[in-house]
């Protein structure tokens, strides 16, 4: 468009196919780095009206924007759905972003075979309720096919989730997986982008991340590369529960207090299970507990709690003096446990 367009009658712009008039303010001359326009963007007639979003509405619109960017930018996205509280929020956000259409992406879950049974029941029920396609790939199957190879004596399936997930991404040629990770969970996650680039080996390179500016997400990939996208990056544990309350979302029963046989290991109460039965001399007790974060049944610490409804959970978390991840043995392995798993392709 030519600069300094003549004033007077409107002219037809050849490129825009619409006519143009001289500007009402600013103009070609305002080339200074700094000008003195004030930030009062609210027209006077609106000064008495309150146009603002509360924190959950702000986090919600940010996450919906990200969901729709995924639908707009990627060809074969998937949503990682475990049945846990964070991915339950993701599903509601997907409904808000895409209804009345069908969800434009399937749900994917890597089943370690060590899940809490309550979690899998909930996962299947919720996917059916939404009419969503649910893809399950199991670590068991990956081991049988030689995709995942357990170390001698290794009981935990945590590490083996990674090759299972990467194989599923390859099988379905997913170019993007939406996950429910949050930056407040863990300090390696605090450095994570909304759009987290992974190379063709699924690796995260924390020192070489794309800068993320404003709400402009660079979703460009070369073949074989893929993206992990985290719409809940800015949510805290408390936000998640407040959102569950506001949206009246159903969650698996193990989040609420219940009676369970527990064994004391490494300063934590773990659920008694067949995979790692109590050893002689270990303290076993019947306690009233709940889970705060859900990992595998062999590594998820239980917290003693009487919170049997969402309100009580919110009160409990607001007063909590340890973080949510404090009850996950998989994160305690070393100070960089999460970073190392993410570099290898963990979500």
């Amino acid at each position: 468009m030519p600069r300094g367009a003549p004033t007077g009658p409107r002219q037809r712009d050849p490129i825009l196919a619409i006519s143009v008039t001289p500007p009402c303010r600013g103009g070609a001359g305002t080339a200074a780095f700094f000008s003195t326009i004030r930030y009062d963007h609210v027209p006077p007639e609106l000064h008495s009206v309150s146009y603002h979003l509360d924190h959950l509405q702000y986090l919600e619109t940010e996450a919906i924007h990200i969901m729709r960017e995924v639908a707009g930018e990627f060809e074969r996205p998937a949503l990682l759905f475990s049945g846990g509280k964070d991915s339950i929020c993701l599903l509601r956000l997907a409904e808000k972003a895409f209804r009345p259409s069908d969800l434009p992406l399937p749900l994917l879950n890597v089943d370690t075979g060590h899940h809490f049974p309550e979690l899998n029941t909930f996962r299947d029920h919720r996917a059916k309720e939404l009419g969503a396609k649910l893809i399950i790939r199991t670590v068991e199957d990956a081991i049988a096919k030689g995709i995942a190879i357990p170390a001698p004596g290794e009981v935990s399936r945590n590490r083996l989730q990674i090759p299972t997930l990467l194989a599923a991404i390859e099988e379905f040629r997913f170019d993007c997986c939406i996950g429910g990770a949050r930056r407040d969970e863990e300090k390696a996650r605090a450095k994570e982008r909304f759009f987290s680039f992974r190379d063709s080996f699924g690796q995260w390179d924390p020192k070489n991340q794309r800068p993320e500016i404003w709400n402009l997400y660079n979703a460009r990939l070369n073949p074989g590369e893929n993206m992990r996208v985290f719409p809940l990056s800015n949510w805290t544990e408390l936000d998640v529960w407040e959102y569950i309350r506001r949206e009246r979302l159903e969650v698996p029963t193990i989040y609420f207090s219940h009676r369970r046989a527990c064994v004391r290991r490494q300063g934590q109460w773990l659920p008694v299970n067949d995979l790692q039965p109590p050893r002689p001399g270990e303290e076993v007790r019947e306690l009233v507990v709940r889970v705060r974060t859900i990992g595998d049944i062999i590594s998820t610490g239980l917290v003693e709690s009487r919170a049997d409804n969402v309100d009580d959970i919110i009160t409990e978390i607001a007063a909590a003096r340890v973080t949510e991840r404090g009850s996950r043995a998989d994160d305690k392995a070393s100070e960089a446990a999460m970073e190392d798993r993410k570099k290898a392709g963990y979500f």
Binding site: M1, R3, R12, D13, L16, A17, I18, S19, P23, R25, G26, G27, A28, T30, A31, F33, I37, Y39, H41, L46, Y51, L53, H55, L56, Q57, Y58, H65, R68, E69, G72, K96, A97, F98, P100, S101, D102, R183, E186, K187, K191, P206, K207, R210, P211, E212, I213, W214, N215, L216, N218, N222, S233, T236, L238, A318, R321, V322, T323, E335, E339
Partner: protein, 456 residues
């Protein structure tokens, strides 16, 4: 400083006895902290987290553990935010880290940006979404080059509110004269930067003075504490509510509607990037320029009579106009500019320098177009605010003023009036690296749709 000392210094934490209860609906304030290496930035963040009870016992234990192992018994609060192994090993911050805390009045998101290497790139990243910037100054050193750089970037990124926290006041005997001298030094150059809302606060991050509770050492300071200011600064007008803009993200058209009423459903989904939209109002679809009417503002929670920036909505339009991702729906007043020739300030973010003539992908709102850099007009020295004309290239962390020509027209506003429709990124073809953050100058002319183009 040991954790015990830190906690002992924190006799103020009882001040926040009320927990952030959930039933209350609160706003989010996003801020970034800027300071040189020893300005006490980590101590300040650690203290805000601690005093707001956002620092948990297992985090404190982890800090103590790493202090025993690597720190010779000294707890380093930077370890709270330095989450990567390389950062802890080298004792540096590599990347922007985000931290979260809440008080009963507000929730806060802190973008903690490193104070040295790649500073500009990281600060621009952290600042792009901030409502407020806290620039830390060491009371002993006063205004140094770093302070001018931080303030300059705050102005360039148009962060609406600035706090100058004059730290380590205990080391200058709480001198009012020293505080006033630093303030005067700032006020000498602030008008050149067009910053309007500035608050100067004398603090000691280490001892907690004027962070949560007013300090007994500064009877001469009548203003708010840092936390009180963060809790109360008016951010309601930080979004642009003047001139409706909806960049189209996704077209919502159910393929297999089981409900017969959905057969004709065709919605235009996006996040409102400016202004307010009302049911029944006239809108224009760009680039075509067709006018139509908003039939319904659809959300999953039910239809709305009006919606505003930055809400995410789906619009149903009265007429069957051609709309797809990358287009923009605007109101009929306060029209945007539309052009292929653009002028912008850019922050260069890649080791491979920018040279005039290079081609990139330009992502503006939801629209990605090819663009060539036709000229580099100036480079800005962010310490002196001087402009060097016609530089040969822009290197990593340089700020410059450039001209671009795009393959298709871009519909935009000046960055200074709308951060969402006035900003863009440049993506290098091939590597797909994000190489620049751009802030558009005011359009030379605004579009004016022709009445004959209206679809009735």
């Amino acid at each position: 400083m040991s954790v015990a000392t830190f906690i002992a210094n924190s006799d103020l934490r009882t001040a926040i006895s009320e927990q952030p209860t959930a039933a209350r609906s609160v706003e989010i304030l996003r801020f970034n902290t800027c300071g040189s290496v020893d300005d006490g930035k980590s101590t300040l963040i650690g203290r805000l987290l601690y005093d707001s009870k956002s620092l948990m016992e297992d985090q404190l234990e982890a800090l103590e553990r790493s202090a025993d192992i690597t720190g010779g018994g000294q707890v380093n609060l930077a370890n709270l935010t330095d989450g990567l192994r390389a950062e802890r090993e080298q004792g540096i911050t590599i990347d922007v880290a985000y931290r979260y805390f809440a008080t009963p009045r507000r929730k806060f998101i802190i973008a903690d940006t490193p104070g040295h290497i790649q500073y500009t790139r990281n600060m621009v990243t952290g600042a792009s979404t901030a409502n407020l910037a806290v620039v830390l100054v060491d009371a002993r050193a006063g205004v140094i080059e770093q302070s001018r750089r931080h303030t300059c970037l705050t102005a360039l990124l148009r962060i609406p509110h600035l706090v100058v926290a004059v730290n380590k006041m205990d080391l200058v005997d709480w001198s009012e004269d020293r505080f006033n001298a630093i303030r005067a030094d700032f006020e000498e150059f602030l008008p050149r930067l067009g910053i309007h809302d500035v608050k100067f606060i004398p603090i000691s991050a280490l001892h907690g003075d004027n962070l949560v509770e007013p300090s007994r050492h500064t009877p001469w300071y009548p203003g708010p504490t840092l936390l009180h200011h963060l809790e109360t600064v008016h951010i309601g007008s930080d979004w642009n509510l003047n001139g409706f803009r909806l960049p189209v993200q996704w077209v919502n058209r159910p393929h297999n509607p089981t409900d017969a009423r959905l057969h004709d459903f065709r919605g235009v989904s996006g996040q409102i990037a400016g202004g307010i939209v009302r049911r029944g109002q006239k809108v224009i679809v760009l680039p075509g320029g067709q006018a139509t009417t908003v039939k319904e503002i659809h959300t999953h929670d039910g239809p709305l009579d009006e919606a505003f920036c930055p809400q995410s909505v789906t619009l149903l339009l009265e007429d069957d106009v051609d709309v797809s991702r990358g287009q923009m729906i605007v109101g009929t007043d306060q029209l945007p500019g539309g052009a292929c020739d653009l002028r912008a300030n850019v922050c260069w973010m890649h080791p491979r320098p920018l040279q005039a003539g290079k081609k990139y992908l330009l992502k503006h709102t939801t629209n990605t177009v090819q663009a060539a850099v036709t000229a580099i007009d100036h480079r800005l020295d962010i310490s002196t605010f001087n402009r060097e004309p016609a530089p040969a290239s822009l290197a990593l962390n340089d700020i410059g003023e450039i001209r671009l020509r795009t393959a298709k027209p871009v519909f935009f506003d000046a960055y200074e009036s709308n951060r969402l429709t006035g900003s863009f990124i440049l993506i290098e073809p091939g590597t797909h690296a994000t190489v620049a953050a751009g802030m558009l100058h005011a359009p030379a002319e605004v579009i004016r749709p022709d009445a004959t183009d209206f679809v009735i």
